[in-house]
Amino acid sequence: MPHLHTRSEILRGAKDALPVMFAVAPYAMVLGAQASQVDLSLAEVGAMTGLNFAGCSEFAAIKLWAAVPPMLTIVLITLLINSRHIVMGAALAPFLQHLPKRKVIPALFFMADEGWAISYADTLRRSQGQQLPAFSWPYYWGACLPFYPVWVGFALIGAAIGPALGNIEAYGFAMAFPAVFIVLLRGMWKGPRLACAWLVSLLVAILVYLTVPGAWFVFAGVIAGMLFTYLREVMQ
């Protein structure tokens, strides 16, 4: 019964994604509220979150927004911030070879940090457990798709409520995102060799964050960790 199997895999993905929603929803509301403060209309907030669907870049765009938004700057910063997706897609690519391109391309539209990390960690677990295929297609949809209505919906709610929302940051939600990412990292843990590369990424990202203005720190951190791993492999 492949149909039942698909359903249980979708549900398994959605179940793993559910706790992360509690971190994403308040963040989306903060984004919406900030957007309304720089005079984005509800339709514009809906269009941005629905068509772009990448939170970090949307926060950056809102910070730069004006009556006539600086289009080129915003698009270039979006490209810079989201360049990490290139690495994310590349990490997933070897596990997608059994799927046709026409199915993967629309699915990748929904590849945001959280859903991707949940699905990638599951792929690693299945691959270690010799389950085939390692990448579960229905699990990916279950883990990724629910973030879409949550992100767009709560951003709209935040935009509608606007300033009445108050300073949501004051309630401690600032810790929700690092908590989510740290647990996701634990799911990718494979021993100290990988962790060394992560530590290099962390240190370089911190250094760049403190010294270079703008959004370069993610890019720099990712490249540094990958370069470190490459050099270590070469020297062995």
């Binding site: 559910l18 706790p19 992360v20 509690f22 209309s41 514009e44 269009a47 068509l51 669907f53 870049s57 949307e58 765009a61 938004p69 289009m71 915003i74 698009v75 979006t78 490209l79 989201n82 997706h85 690495v87 994310m88 897609g89 590349a90 990490a91 070879q97 391109k101 993967v104 391309i105 990748l108 590849m111 940090d113 990638y120 004051a170 401690g172 600032a174 810790m175 995102f177 690092p178 908590a179 740290i182 647990v183 990718m188 990988l194 962790a195 992560w198 290099v200 990424s201 962390l202 370089v204 990202a205 964050y209 720190f217 993610v218 720099a220 951190g221 990712v222 960790g225 791993t229 270590r232």
Partner: protein
């Protein structure tokens, strides 16, 4: 209502983002990676996650650093929901009593 300038900016953002989502897959879809490239791609996902949250490790607010430490300890053993709850609650409580 959407102004033309806003719409163009949003469409530009959306195209840039979708391009980044497709690029890695399209580049590596048919490649067979050597051992070095495989090692790099194995480390890369964690590098992405840790880099995104790097600013939290040098927050200027001490209460956020303490809450991050508590979150790290919680994440060691606890599942997602509990870790997030402990992280948020510890920061909220610390903020109440700080100053």
């Amino acid at each position: 209502m959407i102004s033309t300038a806003a719409l163009l900016t949003i469409l530009g953002m959306a195209s840039a983002t979708y391009a980044t989502r497709l690029a890695g897959y399209l580049l590596l879809r048919k490649r067979k990676l050597g051992p070095r490239a495989r090692a790099v791609m194995e480390a890369a996902p964690g590098c992405v996650l840790i880099s995104v949250i790097a600013p939290h490790f040098v927050s200027p607010h001490p209460e956020e650093l303490i809450a991050l430490g508590i979150t790290l300890v919680a994440a060691w053993r606890l599942p997602m929901l509990f870790t997030v709850a402990i992280g948020v609650a510890s920061l909220a409580v610390l903020r109440l009593y700080w100053q």
